[in-house]
Symmetry: C2
């Protein structure tokens, strides 16, 4: 149910891709902001946001959109966080809340915090939601529903600002969790960045294999390969920046994964059926837990297989 | 539209898991067999098949079910192919067609062919279709619709038998491709066995990581990890056998994947953003091709995300 009165007078969205445009839509639907000001660097994207009527005013300069805003949400590739903060800093209203939605938090805090004046509240955030699509057309109001949003306020952050931002995410449909930034970066390196990189890697391996044609890979992809292509079609700029800005944790997870893969290869080479069976059995239960936690659907093949009515 | 008259008088299904029970259902729906005889080693599974009314007669002994059948479909873990062939051989009718649905073909041919009498036609097959579920309850008649079935008849196989089996799969809804068994094993190692093993491996890595709890992995799995858990919840016996029976090709693909992963790790370590961007860009187009080929659906998140009506 929409709020009876807006939570914020003016919200500025800096960046209007999948996350920014989904926020614009849910804020409108839930009456979260009286006014939504939008800014993005690309002229075409800004024009598209205008055509989609995502906001109330549109600006090429982030500093113009952020002026006098009560809440500023930075939704740009994490490598651009520092320059956005620098650009908006002089125009920020005293007491404004600044947040972001970046997939890495230690780096984003290091980039943004030094740029901001002391009289604004910076509360870093990361909604654990997304699809493989990007750009203002890809957003939708339900994106954050029943998903988690992690906030990683540095020590000394104003508690009221954290509370207001948590309320904002609740109004968007999410549950909120507070976490230390370094731990966030490690958790996400494991559950998000590692799967993402493995997907890119396997798609690259399959594309370049000389004895199996790309046509064959595509034709027979329903046998497993296609599951990886969803993540591997995600935004390259966003993921380049994640690798560069969560480097240590990502390298740690890749090293761990590679160690485990070496053991698996050794088991296959030795023909050790018992080890293989044990490994393949213990991974089965985790999916059940994910479905029970409401983080995936129970239908076979993610629901993409047509079932018969009678069966 | 069901056939006006059955293609086979009697079909024996040896094994009644996901594939066998889906065949039973589609054969019934399409009037492909006048009689369906079912056999499986497990007493409980056989009883369940009877409760589901998947066939016309039920046998604990494969040799009993296969007696006088016109077509025998062996749908068991590939490691059990040889013993099933040995068991049914004495009871096979002259001119019967024997096929299988195993994920590896060179090994299955080596196991089955020597056991069979000269007066039957062995045509190895592999439907490229499946879900992460197993057992007789998991099957459904539409499983093979718009999927490929690969047949790998050894040199000298009776052409008419190959043609009849191709017609059988067409009637089940599939397209049929003929392929050399060794090439099949290489293609499937790449598009199926490699993704499967990588999925098992990443789920194992995430489960065992001491600084990130399993509860956190589950909670934040929507950020990417959950995509891997579907494959990793597949039948452990089936996949153990695939590893043991397509060992060389599987090890080759894992080695290739590991090489590519080493390059990716080096790019991250060096902070080489351009290489990362190039890699992440080139993998994007393959998903589009898979969707155009009808082998996956176009909806974001495999259609599991609720979209808003108005957006």
């Amino acid at each position: 149910m929409p709020l009876s009165q807006p939570m914020f007078d003016r919200v500025a969205l800096i960046g209007i891709g999948l996350i920014g445009s989904s926020l614009a839509r849910v804020m409108r639907r839930e009456n979260i902001a009286r006014e939504i000001f939008i800014s993005t660097r690309s002229k075409d994207t800004l024009e598209r946001a205008r055509q989609l009527e995502l906001g109330d005013a549109y600006f090429a300069m982030a500093s113009e959109a952020a002026k006098d805003a009560d809440l500023v949400v930075i939704s740009v590739p994490v490598g651009a966080s520092g320059s956005v903060a620098k650009a908006i800093a002089p125009n920020l209203k005293s007491g404004a809340i600044v947040t972001d939605v970046g997939s890495t938090k230690t780096s984003v805090i290091a980039q943004i915090q030094p740029e901001l004046p002391e009289n604004v509240h910076f509360v870093p955030g990361h909604p654990i939601a997304g699809t493989e699509y990007s750009g203002p057309d890809s957003g939708f109001a339900a994106l954050f529903e029943d998903r988690w949003c992690i906030l990683t306020p540095p020590d000394g952050t104003d508690e009221n600002a954290v509370k207001m931002l948590a309320n904002f995410w609740h109004a968007c449909g999410s549950d909120v969790e507070l976490m230390d930034a370094a731990h966030h970066d490690q958790v996400l390196a494991l559950v998000s960045h590692l799967p993402q990189l493995i997907s890119y890697n396997i798609v690259a391996t399959a594309s370049d294999f000389e004895d199996v044609s790309k046509a064959e890979v595509i034709k027979y992809s329903a046998s497993g390969f296609r599951d990886f292509t969803r993540l591997a079609s995600s935004d390259p700029t966003m993921w380049r920046d994640v690798c560069l800005h969560n480097k240590e944790a990502v390298l740690e997870m890749l090293a761990r994964f590679s160690e485990d893969l070496s053991s698996l290869r050794a088991s296959i080479r030795r023909g050790d059926g018992d080890s293989l069976f044990d490994l393949f059995s213990k991974t089965r239960s985790i999916r059940r837990s994910i479905i029970e936690a409401g983080q995936d659907i129970d239908a076979p093949n993610f629901g993409r297989t047509p079932m018969d009515e009678e069966d």
